[in-house]
Each structure stands twice: as structure tokens, then as C-alpha cells.
């Protein structure tokens, strides 16, 4: 039976090292299968998050050969024969152990977003064409790969000033909900720091749900912020409208 060499970064935030394993390959096998094989045969305490194994829950995010990916969707036969596979935890969040990182910061950011607030006059009929673009944002499985790859978070570590692509997607889903009546524009500009994003589209590239994060969520939200704060007509209107 064919075998593949997998190197897994194991350990804690204080000390980690790569360990190498030989894993037999079956047709259609994915990296997560290989990690499970390592668990049951060589390293029973190897820490990894996973749930659905079908790219629906977003638990098994990792960096495979340097690329942020879901391990359940990364097939071993995507790699060249003889190529080593190297698995690291996602880098942007502190490591707890092995492939498991502390992503609790994301849950804290989420709590700060004004929830869906239906307009008082909502009739609860909605038409599919109005919903199509919002449903795209609702596909997010919270794998946090976009957060992982975003350089504002990854390289500049601006977690205290920037919410990250995942939460721009959430806000876009709320702001563009046909029946929502709240405004999150001030939040986007100040607390969520949307201005820090310089639309390099790294988030869009890694999204396993193929959400057009930059084009469909972030850019329209940036435009709304600009309209609200910098458009002279809107400002004039606000001055006299008392808002």
C-alpha cells in the first residue's frame, strides 16, 4: 500500500516541534483522515478539532504546507507523489496544543455586533432576488481561515482595533437583510476598523464556502461608511435632519 509522510507540528505555545509519521494512503483520503490515523496508531493524545468531516462545520482549520485549509477538504492526492505534507495550526491565534488554537477572541468580537433588528413595519414577505446576496453571507461556517490569513490580524496583530473579514461578512448579512432596521455603520468605522482593510482579497481566496468576502461584503460596507461619513450631501442632511 502506498504511504505518505506527514509532519505534524505538536506541542504548546511554549514549546512545539515537528513530528514525522508514515501513513498508508487509501483512495480519496483527506488530511484529516491521516491525522485520525496518527491519533489511533501513534499519538493518542494528538489534539485536533473536527466535527462534521464534510466542510459544513468549519472546525478542522489548519495550515497545510503553508496554506490555510480545512483538513477535511484537503485530499492527499492533491499533493505530488513523494511530496511531504506538513501540518501546522492556524497561526493567527495562540496555540493551545498541537493543532488546536484559542479562537475565543472571535466569539468576543461577535458579541459586540448589533443583532438582527426587524423594522417595526416588517410584513415578513421577502422575495428571493432580494435574498440571494444575503444568503451568500449566511453560508459562512466560521472556520476562521479568513481571520487567519488576514494580514491586519496575522502580521499586524490589530485584534483590538479590527474585527476581521468573518465579522464583516456577518455585518453585511445583517445590513443587507431586507427587513433589518438597525445601522452598524458607526460600529464598522470605529470599533470594527473596516478602514484598515486594504482589500488584498486574501480572505476571499481561502474561503472554503467561496463567499466573495471582499467584493460582496467588505467593499459595499466600506462604501456605506464613506457615504455616511464623507459624502457632503449625507452630512448636510444629517446636520439638518438632526441625526
Amino acid at each position: 500500500m502506498a504511504e505518505v509522510t506527514i509532519r505534524v507540528s505538536q506541542g504548546t505555545a511554549e514549546h512545539a516541534e515537528e513530528k514525522s509519521y508514515r501513513v498508508p494512503v487509501a483512495t480519496g483520503m483527506v488530511v484529516l483522515d491521516a491525522i485520525h490515523y496518527i491519533q489511533s496508531h501513534f499519538a493518542p493524545d494528538l489534539a485536533v478539532r473536527w466535527n462534521c468531516k464534510a466542510a459544513k462545520c468549519g472546525s478542522c482549520s489548519a495550515e497545510v504546507n503553508g496554506k490555510p485549509r480545512l483538513m477535511c477538504k484537503t485530499r492527499l492526492d492533491d499533493f505530488a507523489a513523494g511530496e511531504e505534507i506538513v501540518v501546522y495550526p492556524i497561526k493567527t491565534f495562540p496555540r493551545i496544543k498541537d493543532l488546536v488554537t484559542d479562537v475565543s477572541w472571535n466569539y468576543k468580537v461577535n458579541q459586540r455586533i448589533v443583532p438582527f433588528s426587524p423594522r417595526k413595519d416588517a410584513k415578513w414577505t421577502m422575495h428571493q432576488p432580494d435574498m440571494d446576496r444575503v444568503q451568500e453571507f449566511r453560508k459562512c461556517i466560521e472556520c476562521f481561515l479568513c481571520q487567519d490569513v488576514c494580514h491586519v490580524l496575522r502580521n499586524h496583530e490589530l485584534k483590538d482595533r479590527f474585527a476581521g473579514p468573518r465579522f464583516f461578512v456577518r455585518v453585511a448579512g445583517l445590513e443587507m437583510h431586507p427587513l433589518d432596521g438597525a445601522s452598524r455603520i458607526a460600529y464598522l468605522r470605529q470599533e470594527a476598523g473596516i478602514g484598515l482593510c486594504n482589500i488584498t482579497k486574501c480572505c476571499t481566496e481561502v474561503c472554503p464556502e467561496e463567499i466573495h468576502i471582499t467584493d460582496n461584503a467588505i467593499i459595499p460596507l466600506k462604501e456605506r461608511v464613506v457615504d455616511e461619513y464623507f459624502d457632503p450631501l449625507t452630512r448636510l442632511f444629517r446636520m439638518f435632519g438632526g441625526k
Partner: protein, 572 residues
């Protein structure tokens, strides 16, 4: 001796899938303090994987639909073994629960006139499933999750509950450990809601995640709660069969709801022979048996399944209505479902049996302990209809939250349990670390999965079931010497070593019930008793702990009132 972090709430909810979240939301709005404990990160529970839809008689597509029709479909699907009152409450309340989700921000697919769109599904006589493409569960869990978060429900993530404790007769607290650090934590509560799901991980081929280890069933059984109808395990007809790594992964029933056809290797639409009237939209028990039979008799597909085909449908509409199936097959199996057939076969999916509960309040037989969702029995009888699980979670999750809150308000004092009990439990949890030799938990788990898969699967026979019981005893012995290596820090091997206790208890309950029920009904098929026996249709199986023994008894089905009975007379 290790000190314990302790939390105290009026209502503690264990499990953060649809039922647990809905229960926590309801209890919070009743004005009591609530805590929500879950094994994974929030939003990753199994509900997220539900695909096809949530069943509710809203009559947006089929005007003749109403709660009576939904009730009748549910009872007939469950082979009349359902608790009629649960099925009635479910059918009556499901539409309000779905509307409520929409008011909390959920976005279901729409009809041309702007209402919630409803699709056809097996065993439902009307187009009844409200859906979002084939990712309905994600929409539902995200909506509930955001609602609970903004209600400020404290959520204890990646925290596994291992023991329930009682003071006198009343359940009043739990022991848990933080998966991250392996530290123990105690939660005290005036009422506890179990929303811990099912037992799929006892079987080899399953659509369920690692979380499905029947923790709630095992823990509640240990403190004296009664289990019911444990022989009824649903094998979903369509799981992936190829490649090996994805074997068992769910292929939503919505594929058939949208017009998918099942064929064998000769190209025959074989459902004509098993259920000519409903064909592919027959109930799951029937379709699973049909597929099993086709494969067994040599008419299966290349990799031991059958074909499920949507290539005759418009490719763009397939991608729109079944986007995750399209991607799942394309990425994991190199199959373009708009052009080629899928290969599918039965996969362990859902537990109809579970904790015996009161229909109105979801109270288990232990005071202060409530149960909702898959962990509870009764609602689905001998076979669950697709789409009835998501609605079950919402309806009974809410009722559990409501009644647990009421219970907590009526019983204001917090009962205490002894420190010695907690110490005893933690000692047991840590024992596997002390051994220098012994089998690995993974090895025992694999043996258990093979045993249940091969001997207690879709088709059962006395000889196999007896063999399974012997094997389970052997595995119990083996588990007593299980060895765990490494530290307590995020250690999946250690976690599994304890989960196996619950898996073994539940597996034994399934096997004993299956052995005792000498008939075939719904999801329970006995090769040696192929007929449905009307006498068995009058009773539920009750399982309880009697010392170290498992006791099985029968309890007559609750009597359906005449006005509901009439619904069935009209059609026959």
C-alpha cells in the same frame, strides 16, 4: 485533592445544538439564570450538518396541509409507536417555531409570493420542509446561536459533562472537565436540561461526528432515569459509500425531494418493487431496507451501494438547490452530480429511542432532569421522518426551557451533593492515566463500532444479537484496563476513554431491546421475525438500571383520544 471551579445557575443546559440553544433561549426569557455547556465550539454541534429542511405544516406550497395531516404522517411514519401527544404538540407548534426563527433573522428560501418555500420529503404527504438550499441546519444553528449570544447566555465551550448528581431523588448538578486544560469543573443547578443528541459513534458507518457518544443517555441511565425504545436506530438510506474516507457521510434526502432517482446496477428504479406509490420518497426505513436488499442480492453498484441520480434535472437548478451536495461529491469523490450518478448506501444517522419523557413538560423520570431533541424518546416512534428532527429540536427545546425554568422557580433552594461523590467520579476519570499497560481507547472503540455495525445493524437476527451482547461484556472488561498516555491537556484519547462507558451502556440497551422485540417494525428489522406483530404495537420498551443489571420491561402506549384516532380510520 484537587479543588473545583464551581458555577451555579437556575437552569443548566447540556448540549448546544438546536434543542439546547432553543432551550437556553426560552429559559432565559423566563427570567431565570441559565448556563449552556457544550463539548465543541459554539455553532459546531451536529445541527449544523442538517441539510434538507425543517418540517412545519405552514401550507405555503400545499394549501391542504395542516397540523392534523402532519401529525398523521408522523405517526404513520413512526409505525404508530410514537407518543401521540408529542407528535400532536410537534405538529401544532412547528409553524410558530419556524416563523419565530425568521423573526430572529433566519433567511429561508422563498415562494414566488414571498413566503417560506417548502419542499417534498419522504413520508410527508405535502410539500412541508422549509429550507435554505441544502444547508438548513447551518441557518438554524447560526440564528439560534446569535440569539442566545445577544441574550447574554453564558456559554461554557469545549467543556464535557461526565457525571450527573442527585440530592435525594432530585438531579441538581454535574461534573465536567474543560477539554482545553483537563481541569474539572462542577455546575450546580435547580433544573438540568439534557440536549446531548444520539449515539451514532457506536457504529462504524455513520453520518455522526465524534460528539455523538450518547453522554446524556449514559449519565441519566446511571442516576436512574428510564430509557425507552432503544432498538430504534435510524439508518439513513443515503450515505456516501466511496471513497473509503467519506464512507457514511450524509447525502441529503433533499436530493430525492428535488427529484433524484434511485437505480441499481441494471438501471432499474428498484423502489418500484418496494413502494411503488411513493417510490424514492418512501420512508427512510423502507428505502434503507430496499437498498440493503438490492446490494445483498447482487444488484449493487461498483462500491457496494446503489446509484442516486439527478443528472436528468437542470444542472443550474441542481447547483442552486443542492449546492453542498454538488461540492461534496465534486471535491471528495470526483463526481459531478449534474452529469454522473452518486453512489450511496445506508449510514447510521439518528436515535429514535432515548430518555423517557413527559410529553407536555419534557421531564424525564428523574425530578429536575429534562430532555429535548434526539436524546429524548417518543416523538418519532419506530422511524423518524426527514425534517421532523429540526422541528422537534425547536418545539421540544422550547418546552424544555419553559418547564425547566418553571421547575427552578418552584424549587428555589439549591440542593447539594456530597464532595465525596465528586471525588469518586474524578478518581474514576483519572484512573486510565495511572496504568502502565492496557488497550488503547481507539482500539476498544473500533471493536465496538465493528460489533454494532456487523451484529446490530439494519438486519438483525437472534444469533448475532446474542453474540453482540457477549462481545459488549468483553469490551466492558477491556475498558476496565484501558490505558491513556500523555497529559490532561486537550487529550482526545483520554476523552474517548471515558466516552466509551456511555457508548457501551447505550449499545447494550440497543442490543437488549433489539433482541427482546421479536418482530419487525420501522427501523427495527428482524430476519427471524420479519412480520409486524400487532401485539408489539401496543407497548414501549422501558430500560432501567437495576443494581449493575440492565432491566427491560414493557409499558402500554399512552391511549390516543378518539378525535385523533378518527384521523386514521378515515384513511383506512
Amino acid at each position: 485533592m484537587e479543588g473545583f471551579e464551581t458555577h451555579e445557575q437556575d437552569v443548566l443546559v447540556i448540549g448546544a445544538g438546536g434543542a439546547g440553544l432553543r432551550a437556553a433561549i426560552e429559559a432565559t426569557s423566563q427570567g431565570v439564570s441559565v448556563g449552556l455547556v457544550c463539548k465543541s465550539l459554539l455553532g459546531k454541534a451536529h445541527t449544523v450538518m442538517a441539510e434538507g429542511g425543517v418540517a412545519a405544516a405552514m401550507a405555503n406550497v400545499d394549501k391542504q396541509d395542516n397540523w392534523q395531516v402532519h401529525f398523521k404522517d408522523t405517526m404513520l411514519g413512526g409505525k404508530m409507536l410514537n407518543n401521540w401527544r408529542m407528535a400532536q404538540l410537534h405538529a401544532q407548534q412547528a409553524p410558530d417555531r419556524v416563523r419565530e426563527l425568521e423573526q430572529w433573522g433566519a433567511l429561508f428560501d422563498r415562494t414566488p409570493d414571498g413566503n417560506i418555500l417548502q419542499r417534498a420529503f419522504g413520508g410527508h404527504t405535502c410539500n412541508r420542509l422549509c429550507h435554505v438550499g441544502d444547508r438548513t441546519g447551518l441557518e438554524m444553528i447560526r440564528t439560534l446561536q446569535d440569539r442566545a449570544v445577544h441574550q447574554k447566555v453564558p456559554v461554557y465551550m469545549e467543556c464535557t459533562v461526565t457525571h450527573l448528581f442527585k440530592a435525594g431523588e432530585r438531579a441538581c448538578g454535574v461534573l465536567a472537565y474543560w477539554r482545553e486544560q483537563g481541569r474539572f469543573v462542577v455546575f450546580l443547578a435547580k433544573a438540568i436540561i439534557l440536549a446531548t443528541g444520539g449515539v451514532g459513534k457506536a457504529f462504524r458507518i455513520t453520518s455522526n461526528s465524534w460528539e455523538y457518544t450518547s453522554d446524556g443517555l449514559g449519565m441519566a441511565y446511571n442516576i436512574g432515569a428510564q430509557l425507552m425504545d432503544m432498538e430504534f436506530v435510524q439508518f439513513h438510506p443515503t450515505g456516501m459509500v466511496w471513497p473509503p474516507g467519506v464512507k457514511g457521510l450524509l447525502v441529503t434526502e433533499a436530493v430525492r425531494g428535488e427529484g433524484g432517482r434511485l437505480t441499481n446496477k441494471k438501471g432499474e428504479r428498484f423502489m418500484e418493487r418496494y413502494d411503488p406509490k411513493r417510490m424514492e420518497l418512501s420512508t427512510r426505513d423502507q428505502v434503507s431496507r430496499a437498498i440493503y436488499t438490492e446490494v445483498k442480492e447482487g444488484r449493487g453498484s461498483e462500491h457496494g451501494g446503489v446509484y442516486l441520480d439527478v443528472s436528468h434535472l437542470d444542472a443550474e437548478s441542481v447547483k442552486k438547490k443542492l449546492p453542498s451536495m454538488y461540492h461534496q461529491f465534486k471535491e471528495l469523490a470526483d463526481v459531478d452530480i449534474t452529469k454522473q450518478p452518486m453512489e450511496v448506501g445506508p449510514t447510521t444517522h439518528y436515535m429514535m429511542g432515548g430518555l423517557r419523557v413527559d410529553a407536555e413538560t419534557t421531564a424525564t423520570t428523574v425530578p429536575g432532569l429534562f430532555a429535548a431533541g434526539e436524546v429524548a424518546a417518543g416523538m418519532h416512534g419506530g422511524n423518524r421522518l426527514g425534517g421532523n428532527s429540526l422541528s422537534d429540536l425547536l418545539v421540544f427545546g422550547r418546552l424544555a426551557g419553559l418547564h425547566a425554568a418553571e421547575f427552578a422557580k418552584k424549587n428555589r433552594e439549591q440542593p447539594r451533593f456530597s464532595d465525596a461523590e465528586v471525588q469518586g467520579a474524578t478518581r474514576k476519570l483519572l484512573e486510565p492515566f495511572e496504568r502502565t499497560e492496557g488497550p488503547s481507547p481507539y482500539e476498544i472503540h473500533e471493536e465496538l463500532q465493528d460489533t454494532m455495525q456487523n451484529l446490530v445493524g439494519i438486519m438483525r437476527i437472534e444469533e448475532d444479537l446474542k453474540k453482540a451482547l457477549e462481545k459488549l461484556q468483553e469490551l466492558r472488561k477491556k475498558l476496565r484496563s484501558v490505558r491513556v498516555t500523555g497529559s490532561r491537556l486537550y487529550n482526545p484519547g483520554w476523552h474517548l476513554a471515558y466516552d466509551l462507558n456511555n457508548l457501551l451502556n447505550t449499545s447494550e440497551a440497543i442490543t437488549r431491546s433489539a433482541l427482546t422485540r421479536q418482530e419487525s417494525r420501522g427501523a427495527h428489522t428482524r430476519l427471524d421475525y420479519p412480520k409486524t406483530d400487532p401485539e408489539w404495537g401496543k407497548v414501549n420498551h422501558i430500560i432501567s438500571k437495576d443494581g449493575e443489571e440492565m432491566r427491560i420491561s414493557r409499558s402500554p402506549l399512552p391511549l390516543m383520544p378518539p378525535e385523533l384516532q378518527k384521523l386514521f380510520e378515515e384513511s383506512h
